[in-house]
């Protein structure tokens, strides 16, 4: 009978250590998965923050005094708006800013709104080149 108890003790110890090894492995795997998810979330958060900084800069840039900066900011705004990071609300904001930029002239007037009672058959939009040095007859 003594060898049975010894064998059972041996098998029990082996089983116990196997179970604890399996549990430990599972715990390590769960921690690794959690760590990977955490890193992924941090990267995503970091990307979102960087996107937000660039988006804010682009929005500020479209009203810059510099023609070049305004043009570059518009390009940036379109690119950021097309990014997967942009929400539907932010895409609407891009549309609204570009729409207003197209309609509002340098004096803050909406050129697409005409005076009430104004009857015209055709509206022709012409580029204002008075301040454009590249235009014909402009400053050298």
């Amino acid at each position: 009978m003594e060898w049975w108890s010894a064998a059972l003790a041996f098998v029990g110890a082996g089983l116990g250590s196997t179970v604890s090894w399996v549990v430990a492995r599972r715990d390590i795997a769960q921690r690794e998965a959690a760590a990977r998810a955490d890193v992924g979330q941090r990267i995503e958060q970091s990307n979102l923050e960087e996107w937000g900084r660039r988006f804010t800069a682009a929005l500020a840039g479209v009203s810059s005094e510099s023609t070049r900066q305004r043009a570059l900011s518009r390009v940036l705004l379109v690119q950021l708006g097309q990014s997967d990071l942009a929400t539907a609300e932010e895409k609407q904001l891009v549309l609204a800013v570009l729409d207003a930029g197209a309609r509002i002239d340098g004096d803050g007037e909406d050129v697409t709104r005409f005076r009430a009672g104004m009857l015209v058959d055709e509206v022709v939009y012409v580029e204002d080149t008075e301040d454009d040095p590249d235009s014909e007859g402009g400053a050298p």
């Binding site: 305004r70 549309l95 930029g101 309609r103 697409t112 012409v126 580029e127």
Partner: protein
């Protein structure tokens, strides 16, 4: 005789209109007025067309 109303737009407005069309995904996705602004005539072209 047709009444023609000429509206002057800046280069910024034209570029914004073009960017809006690009962003929206085509000229059919925006207000036709925006398309007109995007295709605003250069003064020399408009003068030759008017004559």
């Amino acid at each position: 005789m047709k009444d023609k109303h000429v509206v002057k737009v800046t280069r910024d407005q034209i570029q914004s209109a073009r960017a809006l069309i690009d962003f929206a995904g085509g000229e059919d996705k925006v207000d036709p007025v925006i398309v007109k602004i995007a295709h605003a005539l250069r003064p020399s072209a408009s003068q030759s067309r008017a004559s």
